[in-house]
Symmetry: C2
Subunit: 341 residues, 2 copies
DNA sequence: TGACCGGATGAGTACGTATTCATAGTGTTC
DNA sequence: GAACACTATGAATACGTACTCATCCGGTCA
């Protein structure tokens, strides 16, 4: 007793299969009474149009693929946002998560088989050449937070450079004269842009900004780099970290070594994870507008945007205790640095 | 210039379409030389089998659906684990996330259309009747961490009752004589089981264990309930919270009010989120073996397990600072309560 | 040498839908 | 009342694959 088909419904309702198909896909072409009879018959048989067969005919699946790294709080948040956004537009999300960059090739092969309506590539570690290989297949693509491929395929990302600058200026406003940028993965374009934005902004104030890589965008990497930082000599005034998760690890690593944040050193993050607002850290960070980014990405995907359509969405600075030493008096406590942006 | 089909390849290779199809689906039936010729022709044309058409014929999509709540750190972790597990078995994951329980009906309708190979329902807020409605369609289902439907459909979950007991016994071992259980959503079966396990275990020691609901499984709910707790009168020795995320909020709420954890009150969580291990909280919690759970769920799904096949996987206690007051001397600091389980 | 067997391949069909084309029916206009 | 426009419907086909069945061919055995 398998699923009822449109033919079963046609027999039940005493009409042709074509009429059943029309009743579901273009109801305005079917007479009122007929349509009701078809609907009743369909209800009785528990009929649902078979999306697979429909896709075969129409060559549109209503499914959008998303390639997303398998770990990291930020990506998981992005995933939820994309899923919600697609659901709003009647699409489904086929998830491809991957651990290491090599697996991306397998994923791309799979994507190809499913004739998806589009593909969102969300990762900093997908190589440029891998993206390029997909592009000619005619599959609409959008790169998510992967500014390196901007120009090759439509992309959407937060304004990393401006965000880096915003955070840097905040540190200057908090009297930092000596800042160290702690990056995640040096080759990641987001890392580079955030650093470039920060270095330029700090340069305008005559503040130098060396770069140090933690080696990964993870809590553990941040925790591990703390020791190296302390071994290097005296701490700078401010540590500007390229990602919240790394910053959490770094803060914990520092405090385990007896260094207090923000009393001994100011720390900032980047991403605006929910945990940044949790009192345990209360981290100053650049909040990525995940929902807006997801919305923009889906937009570009479904309207088949031009390859050079780069959507850059501004982030917002969240100021927390991690850059607010106990002694500091701030005029407007809710958002003291609002004017900076 | 659309995609090449098996017919195009057949022409190019000078064989029939049937041979091309065989070369890809059952290569052992095709002679060595022919197969090579087909493969070369396919490469030249960039041919990939169309999974949609294959599904139509074989009525197997190789796609498994997952209905997962749109928020909550725990669910996101589950999602990543499921995706990885399915990828290992050559399946894809079609994601359906939902905000409110009503949306589940829409999701189920969508699921039905895609003729998925299986469906994983991961949520405590999916009503029993909704699950039951899906069951008769013949679609293999597995309920994930939703013990309420055990017996109706195959289910997989952590041993909530035993976990609750384990945590409770740990609190007793830490000299708690007065414990309050802070639940998330009272109607959630996970909540009930964890509470029941805890209450039974505590009862054996003559320790009472009242129940208080935070109203949601969220940081904010935990934060908000802190005030109510303090207004109720003197704090108990230990607060046993039904979920890590709630516990984080509760701890922050308490500390904002000047109550120190663990010095003034011990706090435990449940789930074992990565953040529990972060030094900011260092929470004692029952770690759910997410990967093992995901693996078990996929297993049951693909082998079409019996409806009464209930997979209950044990969790492990993680002991953190949140139940280790400064004065306490512990014999084996790495895992002092290992014997408890 | 003829019957037979097994492997390799081709012709044809089915999966369930959407859509094109043809046709029957119903008014409408001069 | 005939020619016409228009709506509602049915018959037939295509989407791309997998699989059944039939065919062919070289080798084997009596």
């Amino acid at each position: 007793m398998s699923r009822a088909t449109s033919i079963d419904v046609a027999v039940e309702a005493g009409v042709s299969q074509a009429t059943v198909a029309r009743a579901f896909s273009r109801p305005e072409l079917v007479a009122e009474g007929t349509r009701r009879r078809v609907e009743e018959a369909a209800d009785r048989l528990g009929y649902r149009p078979n999306a697979i067969a429909r896709s075969l005919k129409s060559s549109r699946t209503n499914i959008v693929g998303a390639i997303v790294p398998a770990s990291g709080e930020f990506w998981l948040r992005v995933l939820a946002a994309l899923s919600a956004e697609l659901a709003d537009r009647g699409r489904q999300l086929l998830l491809f998560s991957f651990d290491d960059a090599e697996a991306v090739d397998d994923v791309i092969a799979a994507v190809d088989q499913y004739r998806l309506d589009g593909l969102i590539m969300a990762s900093t570690s997908i190589a440029q050449q891998q993206v390029v290989r997909v592009a000619p297949t005619g599959l609409p693509i959008v790169a998510f937070n992967q500014p390196a491929v901007a120009g090759l395929v439509p992309s959407v990302s937060v304004d990393n450079a401006a965000g880096g600058a915003t955070v840097a200026e905040h540190l200057v406003a908090r009297d930092c004269r000596d800042v160290l940028f702690v990056g995640g993965v040096e080759s990641a374009s987001t890392d580079q842009l955030r650093y470039a934005g920060a270095a330029r902004a700090l340069g305008a104030y005559g503040v130098a900004c060396p770069y140090l890589s933690a080696g990964a965008f993870s809590y553990d990497a941040g925790h591990a780099i703390a020791a190296e930082l302390l071994a290097r000599g005296p701490l700078p005034d401010g540590l500007m970290v390229a990602a919240d998760e790394v910053a959490f690890g770094l803060i914990d690593g520092l405090e385990a070594a007896g260094v207090a944040v923000p009393d001994d050193v100011l720390v900032t993050g980047f991403d605006g994870l929910p945990q940044a607002a949790w009192a345990g850290y209360d981290l100053t960070t650049l909040v990525q507008p995940v929902d807006a980014l997801a919305s923009a990405a889906v937009d570009r995907l479904l309207t088949d945007a031009a390859p050079d359509a780069d959507g850059v969405v501004p982030g917002t600075l969240r100021i927390g205790r991690s850059t607010t030493p106990a002694g500091l008096v701030v005029e407007n406590s809710s958002s003291p640095d609002r004017a900076e942006r």
